[in-house]
């Protein structure tokens, strides 16, 4: 038997496989295809304080082994979310990680305050890959100071109970310094990686295909970028738990992220191809770990960082 359980701060999960924010809506739709109790946790679509329509369509374009999306955080707003979506998830006995997103440091803190008193939440994922309206729309996660302030505000509002997982963007020059900044500011864990800023041009209209012009690249195409990001950050901060994501669609992919340093793995785009993908991946991971002699996920986390003993005949 393989012990699949994992922890982020004081939160315990029976499996390291989570949904990815924005790729499972609020869980209900996926529940037609899988039993939500079987996976580690449902990470909800990032919720903002007010209801939002999101970006105009078209909102997606398929690309080689990937897709570019520009949803624009359409959603019901935190109050409706806490009144309807969260209680449903809790009633299903799913473990829930709520993802929040804001346009100002203040909005994040407000969201944290509302979430604080809601029962049944295991952890908070703070999606800071959002434009900061107070700083010319620069994405929080691309600005070390703004990232830090968001997490600091959330931590202070939240108190010490709920683990905070800060979700970072790969679109930065120095990911490790941003990661260190948010950990200093009170993040218990890091989610790596959000989508990669991209664009597709429609050859019929000869204009950007997406209604929002640019969008985020996800899927297998970005997996090597995710592995690198996770490896770099785990190398710099081996004790900070990482929720890895980016192109995971098989158990092998999940294992790759775990070996690089992920304590948990979110499955995003792969669920679009197969809503039950996360269950298949979980089963495959179990077998792959066993085949390598691991008895728990924990033993494999960050294994790729260990020096390789030189084989005798190769010296």
């Amino acid at each position: 038997m393989i012990d699949l359980s994992t922890t982020f701060g004081n939160a315990w999960f029976p499996s390291p496989l989570f949904t990815a924010s924005g790729c499972a809506s609020s869980g209900k739709e996926l529940a037609q295809f899988i039993d939500l109790r079987e996976i580690g946790a449902v990470v909800t679509k990032s919720v903002m304080s007010k209801a939002r329509h999101g970006r105009p369509t078209p909102r997606m374009a398929e690309t080689p082994s990937g897709m570019v999306n520009s949803i624009g955080l359409q959603g019901p707003g935190i109050d409706a979310f806490l009144a309807e979506d969260l209680p449903w998830l809790v009633s299903q006995k799913a473990r829930v990680i709520v993802s929040i997103a804001g346009e100002t440091v203040e909005e994040y803190a407000t969201l944290a305050r509302k979430v604080r008193s809601a029962p049944g939440i295991s952890a908070l994922e703070v999606n800071i890959s959002c434009p900061n309206v107070e700083n010319r729309g620069m994405v929080f996660a691309c600005d070390p100071e703004a990232s830090r302030r968001v997490i600091d505000g959330v931590r202070k509002t939240l108190g010490g109970e709920l683990p905070i997982i800060a979700k970072l963007s790969p679109d930065v020059t120095d990911l490790v310094s941003i990661a260190k900044g948010v950990v200093d500011a009170g993040a218990d864990g890091l989610a790596l990686i959000n989508t990669v800023l991209s664009m597709v041009i429609n050859l019929d209209t000869m204009r950007p295909h997406l209604g929002g012009k640019t969008g985020g690249l996800s899927g297998p195409a970005i997996r090597p970028i995710a592995v690198r990001a996770i490896y770099q950050v785990h190398e710099a901060m081996p004790n900070i738990p990482i929720l890895g994501m980016g192109g995971v669609s098989t158990g092998r992919d999940a294992l790759e992220l775990i070996l690089a340093g992920a304590k948990g793995v979110s499955v995003g785009t792969a669920s679009f191809a197969d809503p039950a993908a996360i269950i298949t991946i979980q089963n495959e991971l179990k077998e792959l770990l066993a085949a390598r002699g691991f008895t728990s996920v924990a033993q494999a986390v960050g294994f790729a960082h260990r020096p390789l003993e030189e084989p005798g005949n190769n010296s």
Binding site: A51, R52, H53, G54, T57, P58, E62, N69, I71, F272
Partner: protein, 282 residues
Amino acid sequence: MSSINKFSSRLIATVVSNKRVGQYHQILLNVGEMVNTCKPGNFVAIRVGGDNAKMILRRAFAISRVSLTGPYGGSMELIVAPFGQGSKWLCAQAEGAEIDLIAPLGTAFGIPTEPVRALLVGGGYGSAPLFGLAEVLKNRGCRVDMYLGASTGGKIYAPMEGKRSVNVLRIYTEDGSMGERGRVTEPIPGLIADGLVDVIYSCGPMPMLRAISEIVAGSDVVHQCAVEESMACGVGICMTCVLPVNDEDGNVSMKRSCIDGPVMDGAFVAWDLVGKIPEAHA
């Protein structure tokens, strides 16, 4: 909503036959028991490109018809236009090939409890699900007229056997190469004025659906249309396939065409806002 895809499941189906019909492929898949839960208007999401494909998303196709019996058990028919890499791949699959599909998905056409006078309007391959629908309506005692339109005759899909369930079938092509020259929407205002139609069921390009909605606006005619938006997941989890829809209070919200559709009430779709964002929420 949470009951929408209650009967959907994933299945590896084999291709029973694949025939070219005009510019389309008529593809018959062996799906067994699944046919029992498929209703006219539902769609199927198909994985394309094979095991090593660079395409990662499923493609959506309307379920044209299902048949419970037959030499191979329950089968599902699709009418596919070879358009881009995914649909071309599907059209190239030979008898015996295995197809990974999820079905039935989405909403179905509402079937009236009483016999009504129904007009079915199809554009291009949009006629596909209308023949299955016609059969159901006919069995309920409805009068079923069908008007099909396309730019050219090769894009009209109207199989012989399908005509049995239809009282009148009229065909319109823009180039006049088949049926009458003109647009399929042109005769509709006359029919409505003459009080000859209670419900319109439509499936086809968005501008056609919009035009029909505008024609029926103000009349008592109900318009159920099957919309077609680009879909990444087909099951309600990605939010790519949204359409602006008015609610009872006149507020617009972005509805997912995969689970709040594809069949929607044309009167509620905010056609002028498609591809745009409604005014910000309060």
